[in-house]
Symmetry: C2
Subunit: 244 residues, 2 copies
DNA sequence: TCCAAAGCAAGAGCAGTGCTCTCGATTGTG
DNA sequence: CACAATCGAGAGCACTGCTCTTGCTTTGGA
């Protein structure tokens, strides 16, 4: 059903893709604030008004780019995870974190679009939720696998947070202990804090070797959600060989 | 020397302040993207070109607002810290974190201006550095005080990070152990990750009781940099009474 | 096969933007 | 007092998002 029946429908999805491509190109070059519908149309050899047949407004174009960016990031993270799926949880956790950072460094403006300040009056429609959740779900899976084997000791929750923690666990991962879910959500936000600070220049003249710094911070983040050290497996863990 | 000698100079700083005030008002209402020089001028009863006598460009106006925002945040954090200066390190740490979050919630658009995606081709001039550093310096002070008394055990650094950690410690706090400084910088970034996620809607349908969630996450962040529990002081800690 | 309906690109036009330049008027200083 | 610096006002340029109307082309049903 998704195969276009007529030539017209086919042309429509092609033009739509071309518009998004050109918009993405301008986005990467100048940033979201300077993304101009007219410039996109000009570059595509059409007139600005024609573009409104495909996107009812500039914000709708941005929404499409946002969804695509979430999906691109999610796919990158999932692919990176797939390559180390046989390793231990911290290794997988670190791999996902580094993949997210790598994608952010490679697509700074798209990253800013989805994790930076939201556009003026714009509220992301619910249609972006599935794409936006992919990285989070991946992290949940990793933590779930780690807790599957044996229970991991986490610092207990304060009483004031217990109901909320129970609720979050119910929503996100009913098979995980509430303190693990709470720590996970926090680590998830903190991960993007690290990346955002690096990307948005807050580490200027503060952190130089950002690669090493991030690797360490991300690993510590993993420890914070209960993932254990590679060599801590007891059985002379397979996976302790130095990576390239 | 800062007192204006002539009436003209006095008028100048007054008009400059009025422009920033009105700009801040529009910023709070519509966000940075919709901040219009013309609208500011209109509201002030002058013509747009007159405004260029005070700010050479829109970006310069934004820069002024950015510096002011950093200072406002820094002052808020310092004031909050001053009120609990006699308490233990984690309490002071948590107080600063919550003050930062409170300021962010009260001034979301200004927060987005300084910690959100940077504007297009804009690079913050070095003049913003001192104002931008205030919160970070405050956190360093707290950690320094905590480590002053007794050394606190932190997880050792991996070899690859050791030179960078040493360098950072040299730059930021030569009297602190490198692993503490590294953890502190990470926690600093992670703190703003928590706040940014809450503010920019990433916690939508995920975290409900954000107050409690943040308090717990911020406290755990403090533990991560070596700050100990209030009741862990041994001497039946003064400061364990439930705060209002 | 024919024809109305729908989809489409183009152009003109509106209201708004940042910014520049010029022109008088005001103001402070030698 | 006179000169120079400063300031506000206005016109104007190039640009933006967006709307509306005008024709042309494709499509799908009778």
């Amino acid at each position: 059903m998704s195969t276009a029946r007529g030539a017209r429908a086919r042309a429509r999805i092609e033009v739509t893709a071309a518009i998004k491509d050109e918009a993405r190109r301008q986005l990467a070059k100048e940033g979201a604030a300077k993304l101009s519908l007219r410039a996109v149309a000009r570059e595509l050899g059409m007139v600005s008004s024609a573009l409104y047949r495909y996107f009812p407004s500039r914000d709708d174009l941005l929404t499409a780019l946002i969804t695509d960016a979430y999906d691109s990031l999610g796919a990158t993270a999932e692919a990176a995870h797939g390559k180390v799926a046989a390793d231990g949880p911290i290794r997988r956790w670190a791999a996902v974190c580094e993949a997210v950072r790598g994608w952010a460094l490679a697509h700074p403006h798209e990253y800013a679009l989805i994790y930076g300040s939201p556009v003026p009056g714009y509220a992301a429609p619910d249609s972006t939720v599935p794409a936006a959740s992919r990285v989070g779900l991946l992290l949940i899976d990793i933590v779930r696998d780690a807790h599957q084997g044996r229970g991991v000791a986490l610092t207990p929750l304060p009483a004031e947070l217990e109901p909320e923690a129970r609720r979050m666990a119910e929503d996100l991962a009913p098979d995980l202990p509430p303190e693990a879910v709470t720590a996970l959500v926090a680590a998830w936000a903190q991960l993007f804090g690290l990346i955002g600070f690096e990307l948005f220049g807050q580490f200027h003249r503060v952190v130089e070797d950002r690669e090493a710094f991030f690797r360490n911070a991300a690993t510590r983040l993993g420890h914070g959600v209960g993932l254990v050290f590679p060599q801590g497996g007891g059985t002379a863990g397979g996976g302790n060989r130095p990576g390239s």
